[in-house]
């Protein structure tokens, strides 16, 4: 029997993986986890490329800082693992969705933070990065890996709890539409 499966960004199940100052909850982001469970989705947590690469004490960053060949190779290594599990589910005829984090330079799905001028001493003061349309680095590499395997990109969206104009009701509607 086919299943419904959600591949989710690591930090949605483990807020400890966020950059310091970035966690919203002690352990997990329940609005998504609870909804997935209510809808009968099997949860598949993806690795956190930033935690593995930059460590738990990494600074906040934007897409331009992470967009290096070495970081892309690191993301691709992890994307191969995720793609292998997606392939397993796809072969079984399962319905697969992907939920990222739209404030992330790595896990963004519809948006990702950008600041071409950020570099050097980490004292930016006010955050003047912009959220721009596009994927994070890992999501790009995952899509490329899926394409190489001849697999379709799952339906997807990103959590926006760090957006200045975050609207929980809008997010709930968007998630419900994804999970229908």
């Amino acid at each position: 029997m086919s299943k419904r499966v959600a591949f989710i960004a690591h930090c949605l199940l483990n807020q400890n993986a966020k950059v310091e100052g970035g966690a919203k909850r002690p352990g997990m982001w329940e609005p998504v986890i609870d909804l997935l469970r209510e809808r009968g989705y099997t949860i598949r947590q993806m690795p956190c490329p930033e935690l593995a690469f930059g460590g738990a004490r990494r600074f906040w960053g934007v897409r331009e800082q992470f967009d290096t060949p070495l970081y892309r190779r690191h993301c691709r290594r992890l994307a191969r693992l995720v793609a292998a599990v997606i392939e397993q589910h796809a072969s079984a005829g399962d319905d697969v969705v992907l939920i990222g984090v739209d404030s992330s330079p790595t896990m963004g799905v519809d948006f990702t933070p950008s600041a071409p001028h950020w570099s050097g001493r980490p004292d930016i003061g006010e955050d003047d990065s912009m959220l721009v349309r596009g994927d994070g680095i890992f999501v790009e590499e995952l899509k490329a890996e899926l394409a190489e395997r001849g697999l379709p990109v799952p339906r997807s969206t990103g959590i926006r709890h760090w957006f200045a104009d975050y609207d929980p009701d809008e997010e709930l509607r968007r998630l419900e539409a994804l999970l229908e």
Partner: protein
């Protein structure tokens, strides 16, 4: 800026995730989910290896990390942690079901 993270992480076998989610959430744990059964051996080993890298980073920074294992990948995780110089994780003590409902009202 406040950050409410619990600094507690549970590495959880896929087969135990659904059972333990509420309990772990209540305890302020974040979760690292181990891979599902049925993967090719090399893929499973690589997945466990990257999970060990996450664990090592949390341990290096003083986070509490425990393991809720079903016997599928625990040994592989211990081996991968050993390669990173991290001792095996303590087992998470799964809470027994409450018996309060069995107590007759008086």
């Amino acid at each position: 800026m406040t950050d409410p993270r619990g600094r507690r992480v549970a590495v959880v076998a896929d087969s135990l995730l659904e059972t333990l989610l509420d309990e772990l959430a209540g305890g302020g744990f974040g979760i690292i989910q181990l891979p599902p059964a049925g993967l090719e051996r090399a893929t499973a080993a690589a997945w466990v290896e990257q999970a060990a890298e996450h664990v090592a980073e949390f341990r290096r920074n003083g986070y509490e990390v425990v393991l809720a294992d079903d016997g599928l990948y625990g040994a592989g995780l211990a081996e991968a942690l050993g390669a990173l110089g991290v001792p095996p994780l303590p087992q998470y003590a799964i809470q027994p079901p409450s018996t309060s409902r069995l107590t007759p009202e008086t």
